[in-house]
Symmetry: D2
Subunit: 350 residues, 4 copies
């Protein structure tokens, strides 16, 4: 018998302006009547109210509004313990942390999850993992892809621009991540899943070719980040989305006196790593120029010393992951770039 | 229990120069030792020999070389009846017809299929259907996605440029097909699978942004056509790949004194339909300009009369498929375009 | 990621008296409105009419009644070619041949299939293959499990008793088939799928412990044969259902001047093979005693000479299948049993 | 497209004497080199050592032996937090609690799980849930089917006979559970999954027809309990395994001064409920007679008052689950049985 390969995808996807106000329609269509809504602390009340109003208007029998709290395994477990048993679905509404928590609560409860991001600052809203702390250490925990992805592009456009830059940075990382994967194949024979790599690559390109902050641009960014989550699910690995640039960012999280947004760190690391890899730099730089990404960095520059330390530490963050940083000691090269590359002027300070 | 949605994908994918010469390695890796190779009539002997040589070099125990013959259900059934029982895999090597036949033989035999296109003239090499005649009428028959997609971009670059233009035309069609799908949703409530539509859209964009005839361009075209096949499998419908532009092409196949390559017909129809739909025309025109697609058409112009007849007949080809052609009588508009649109100058004759 | 193993099962199952008259309810529940009904030639008109009446009463829009014709690939292909395109489901109603044909037509058409056996004479109604001739030779062709299994036990009770005996014989074969599988494991290392073997074994036991011809007994027989079909699907092999006893029956089909019902041949071969294997004989003999199976054989005895020839030929029917017949030349032993075993008295003639 | 229904099953199953000593072979075959073994407190050291020895003999790189601790979500979470990241598989070895904990740790870690029960006291070793306390209350938490089921029937025979009686009692419950399911269908239209019900029924029958405490009997009991776990996974509900008899047992767990083994409570409740349902009583009684189940109960009789209270409370334990207890107030009837049924003599005391 010729068995094929099957991959999971979200059962339902909507990426368009006004999707938030149709959340109730989407839930009702799938007969999800009793909904637990896990929301980001500090999310504008208007957004939460629109979601609730939409659910109520379509006959939701019960809506539990829950504060996401800390993005930790412990907090998510506590929310799970308090989740009403009669709950048809879990909605995660807000930023990355709320979605990670909601995804995990839904995983524990065996319930379908609606990912409703209020900004597109990273690719977590449609990945099969949850990024949570466990015993104080950040971990990428096994969870499940969301049942539904509902991105209201107008809502995302209303979020602070720095969150968009973060999403842009996290998306650009796919270019260097796939390259690192291929380096690993040549160095160690680690198999590359071409399907996942091509899917990852295709989606990034679409946005990079039109990196604008409007409804259409937000749709492309959302699609690209979502398909990247699928690419990870396809190959059962974060390889298509995460390479040396993520190792550097993880190292920064560990040592920095004030870590910045995930995608801002990752984006700058992506630029640096692309130079170490010797390819893709122009494409990334152009996207960062056109989106104003650099301005976002310069408004709150990074610490040069912390970055060099992070580059030094990065290979030890995940010793099993071969990347360009495994090929040689790169600290000196990176120092040279920070000091001399005109594109990076103003992005770092002593 | 929260069940997700699973979609089929090829288990193995390689799109790169020289992939043909590694076919044996790929087959051996999956323990496919006895291989039936179904090849296009007229395929250059050198290509067939490279495939056979590669298989033999990796220890294939037996290679049956079979002429694909006519792309009909009857011929494919006859090949199936003669297929050796001890056959681990079926390789389809060559043009669209050979691949359609091989895909169908593999489906009947319950064997994994390797799709090895020698050109990228349409999206059939990675779709879950086979386009075959049945009792003389062209049908899209249920089959299965290939187990493996092996695209040697250098081989495809060596194929006549008109086949590439055909692939470009078939890819451009996804723009109007998705638009027709959305029109149908608004008119009749037919549900649009956003995931499939976004996937289709993303892949087209990547190529349209860089429509070059080189290794990289061929990789993008191959990826886009492949992901489009997946998009069809995702939603269980040809909607993401086939709209009114395909209906016009099917009508031409039925009435034309000399039908042209599928993608040439489809491509020109796509341009016309995009004008009827009122969007996407610039993007399509630019890609056709940059690729020289128009030159390919002008070298062997279409019949104006046949096209107007085809536009008239198209809605009746598949009455259940709502498209822009269902919204009004479009023959007059199309006549106006053929006669007046500068882009189409020289593409039609009386 | 920890991926599990998934197996196909019928989506819908009903085994009970009166199920035939509820066929329309079952079809309507799954929104199958346009139904092609493939029926056995010679099936009592009353049965066909009950099915049609039930479908019409529940609002079937269209019912195509099709004579199953010959159980050949060629005939099934022709039926497929004539199948209305707008067909939501294919119903197979009647004996094994009609079901094999219907299953194959549904497979070709990519449509869900309802298996509605009018007797339980073998395990074909819920297997993933179709037993059809191809170019005149009997083959077990790749198809798909039925979407629905609808067994009206009262209808099956109304079928000739010899068909029931045939089903009993085919079920008993699972005992020797599983034993042959284990012999092959010890001799050649061919892996045994314990899950499939245990499932096969469990279901046989339930019937053998209560082998009566009443509603309850028919329910047990139907369940056992169905789960055996699933067991084959689980391991992707006919091993849990078919061993040396089936090889002997296949040999008889090839050489006998007048082959008998599949399950009658298989049942007697099962008894003989259990003696060659040295286990299970009592259990089988008891079931055959209690069901009157032997009487059915004695009413139309087999040819001693043909059987000895069949035992001689059996190992060459499927040379890759190791069974007890591969361990030694068994013709002499079988001759001794035929001539001397009191249980077989009157079952063979010169 | 005709999509079928797929169900999860264990990828690997072995039920036979000596399976424990082959655990290392099974793990090595699946390339599970680094194994975390979660064992019951108080499990005989010899059993743990045999497992470890077998793993080491086959080249396990690392074996972490972990005490299962309390069967709570909190304890399982803590074990998960301490689980080595480089862990290929989780083995649960011992009684039901250790297996529930191991199953849950494996679920959280996204790792394959080997269920290696040292006794067959209930059906938890192959179910898709874990029975754990959460915040002090017993819950049936979403988990995954084990990857592998390895039952050493000789080890299980060496366990105290009372554990076997418990398994017999839990298995007998399937008879009344399926009956309750059908009652619910007639009363409220709750759909019965016939496939799951037939599978459940088939497996129970096989054991009840041969309820002996020997290798073969243990194999049948293990198979039956395993297939019952699958039946639950098939229909996504505990309905095929758990009805009013389980509600009574859950109520006893809540109110009894000294709850007994799950299967002892469930078994006696099954007998009582079968009388309330008016069918199946003889079959259950015979199995309990032949296995000595009643003797096990009489050796440590239940409290009459607690049981009557439990019967009163049972319907409120899971108000959504319609059972025979929902049809009328059954306390008086049960009191009459306890006082007057000869089979129950000595099973209860004041």
């Amino acid at each position: 018998m010729a068995r094929g390969t099957a991959v999971d995808i979200p059962t339902f996807v909507r990426i368009k302006p006004g999707a938030l106000d149709r959340l109730g329609i989407y839930a009702a269509r799938h007969r999800h009547r009793r909904v637990a809504m896990i929301v980001s602390e500090g999310l504008p009340a208007a957004i939460v109210e629109r979601a609730e109003h939409s659910l109520r208007a379509e006959g939701a029998e019960r809506i539990d509004r829950i504060d996401a709290g800390a993005a930790s395994f412990e907090a998510a477990s506590a929310l799970f313990a308090r989740l009403p048993t009669a709950c048809d679905a879990v909605v995660g509404l807000g930023g990355g942390k709320a979605l990670d928590v909601a995804k995990y609560v839904a995983f524990l409860a065996g319930r379908p999850m609606y990912a409703v991001p209020s900004s597109l600052s990273n690719d977590g809203f449609c990945s099969p993992q949850s990024s949570l702390t466990l015993g104080g250490a950040r971990r990428s925990l096994t969870a499940r892809l969301p049942f539904a992805v509902v991105v209201d592009t107008a809502v995302c456009l209303g979020a602070p621009v720095v969150l968009w830059w973060s999403g842009v940075g996290d998306l650009a990382a796919k270019v260097t991540a796939v390259r690192d994967w291929k380096l690993s194949y040549h160095a160690s024979g680690e198999p590359v899943d071409d399907f996942a790599a091509l899917l990852s690559d295709a989606t990034v390109s679409q946005f990079l070719a039109r990196p604008t902050r409007d409804d259409e641009g937000m749709r492309l960014l959302g699609t690209a980040l979502m398909l990247n989550g699928i690419a990870m699910a396809v190959c059962g690995s974060s390889r298509p989305a995460s390479g040396s640039e993520h190792l550097i960012s993880h190292a920064l999280d560990a040592i920095s006196s004030r870590p910045r947004l995930h995608g801002l760190q990752v984006g700058v690391a992506t630029y640096l790593v692309s130079r170490l890899q010797g390819q893709g730099t122009d494409r990334i730089a152009e996207a960062f120029d056109r989106t104003g990404f650099w301005d976002g960095i310069r408004a709150d520059p990074f610490s040069r010393a912390e970055w060099l330390e992070a580059v030094r530490l990065a290979p030890s963050i995940n010793p099993g992951r071969y990347t360009v940083l495994s090929t040689r000691d790169c600290v000196g090269e990176v120092a040279g770039m920070i000091d001399g590359d005109p594109a990076l002027r103003g992005c770092f300070e002593e």
